[in-house]
């Protein structure tokens, strides 16, 4: 029977609001006096590719990227479909990366301006954080400003998404037949 000590495990990761932070990953136990350990998980995709690889949410666009597996004897239609999917993925990435950057920048500017106006500290000396009500103006303005952009994006995305369904179906059925013969 061992008695164990608690060990704190910290994970260095990127957080949207706080930048690089240490997160307590979870508690772990050790049989000696504990000390804080720090580990870092890699965001790189693995080298071996037997199947498609799905990534973690992208830091900038929040989208999960797929690394498509390239089979050895890839047919022309498979290749065309894969390239089309990669194209759509890149297009989505570009849009959301831009958009989220824009949001971050606009929010920063708004918060700075609002704090200049209201004062950076409360009367009792604590730091002022903007309340949701004070942020509401920003949310509204940002939404209204970007409305047309989103409508265009939405239309385009629906088109791409729906049009890629048919080749996907054709490929899937041909692969089923291939597997049977």
């Amino acid at each position: 029977m061992h008695n164990l000590y608690l060990r704190r495990v910290l994970l260095t990761c990127y957080n949207k609001t706080h930048g690089v932070v240490n997160v307590q990953i979870c508690r772990s136990y050790c049989d000696r006096q504990p000390k804080t350990d720090q580990i870092q998980l890699s965001r790189k995709s693995p080298k071996t590719e037997r199947r498609d690889q799905i990534g973690p949410p992208d830091v900038k666009s929040n989208l999960r990227h797929v690394k498509f597996h390239v089979p050895e004897n890839e047919t022309a239609s498979e290749r065309a479909f894969r390239e089309r999917m990669e194209e759509i993925q890149q297009w989505n990435q570009d849009f959301w990366e831009n958009h989220n950057n824009l949001y971050r920048k606009a929010k920063k500017e708004y918060v700075a301006a609002k704090l200049d106006q209201l004062g950076h500290f409360h009367d009792d000396g604590t730091k002022r954080n903007l309340s949701p009500d004070e942020m509401a103006d920003f949310y509204r303005e940002f939404s209204i400003e970007n409305r047309n952009k989103h409508i265009r994006y939405n239309k385009e995305w629906y088109k791409m998404n729906i049009l890629s369904l048919w080749p996907a179906l054709k490929l899937a059925t041909s692969q089923i037949f291939k597997a049977k013969t």
């Binding site: 060990r7 932070v21 772990s28 995709s45 037997r50 666009s61 999960r64 604590t126 409508i151 996907a168």
Partner: protein
Amino acid sequence: MVLRCGFRLPCWHLMKHTRLLHSKPTQKHNNVSVFKAVYRKFATKPSKGPGSVKPPIEVMKTSKVTSHDVTARELDHETIDVGLRVGEKQFQVTLENKDQDVSFFIPKTNDLITVKFKKADVVQNEVLENVAEVNVPHSQDKQNETSEKKEDDLTLDSIDERMWRERTQDWKKLPDIYMKLSKIRLTGLVVVTSMAGFGMAPAPFDPALFLLGSLGTALMSCSANATNQYLEVPFDSQMNRTKNRPIVRGSISPLHAMTFATVSGVTGFTILTCAVNPLTAALGTFNLLLYTCVYTPLKRMHIVNTWVGSIVGAIPPMMGWAACCGQLDPGAWLLGAILYAWQFPHFNALSWNLRADYSRGGYQMMSVINPDLCKRVAARYCVGMIGLCSIAPLADLTTWMFVIDSLPLNGYLAYLGYRFYRDADSKSSRKLFRFSLIHIPVLIILMLLSKKPHKQDTTIVKKSGIQENTVAKNQQLTLENTGEKSKS
């Protein structure tokens, strides 16, 4: 062979073994997810203002796991078979030569237990039992856990929020994925309201019809939700509330999801058309199209989407009614109106705390674009609910008893709606949202309890009785006629 039970860091080994555990078909306990990991924010960014520095306290929960046993046997020099008991659960794991430790993550208690094996003098096929038993200490810091800190928790449902992983199709997980794809809770609510519509309709209760109608409605709801998720992938990725949906996570392909949507939609439609009645099927199809083709894109276009979404919520009880008696009486419309009115306090309160996400994600939501209207509308419909429930007896839906016993329920809803209107903070909106979840099932139960006993039943029975008699007489006559004919 000496086995030593120690504990080590959840580094790459965790990832290796989690994959190992999942790729093993012999593993019996699929319900224990080793993939799950809850990350907790340890320290907030040190703030510059004076007096606001929070001590970096660990947020922890007391472990339920008090001990675990380790059994190990070495089959050959390449692999090692391990039987592990963690709490009440048992595992069979095969370890390769290089990796001689295995990690378990227990999601609810937030414990990571890593068992490390050290190789010593190996005796082939030796079986060791009850090798090690370990006391896992209880956390002492629980008192320091405040509600404020809980909100700060950075919760990850899965390790794949940090890591790449292979796309695999685990057939055992498919039912779970389908349930997520069809937003099982929402579908459940839809079915419950349609059952309520069926129960309230003034026609004799037919169990087979009831089950078929509910099944058809459920399937069409599944189809609508799956289509919605297929269309919304990049938008869903942006919001915390929706980023764990299966297509976003890559646990199911868009094609597979749409196949599911098509199959369930067509099956639901066929059931409703053939076994129930065309009116119900038409209502279901209308609702499916309204939800997927109008409401979903409208979210990016105009705040009117909330009203359209409320119509979508109002139709299921009318479908239930139509399934029962084949037509839409005033009672059906009133039932629809009650559900329509209910959507506003429910959704407006929900969207109030998601304003930042909605703004960033490109949604044109009432809570963002016009917060005053959002509060007003929610409060208005809360009060309107009292009015709608009061006229229920006039539409022959319920007895006057319902007006009285629904009053406290609706009164409290109206009070919370007023509080939301007055305070408009996250606390009041959350309260209103939570109560709206209790409100609708309780209201439905009250409604069913005080359903108006309908006299039509007996008249229908009498009428059909008369018809049967006449039919029987006619048959007798024809028989006699044919008999006479054959005689002549």
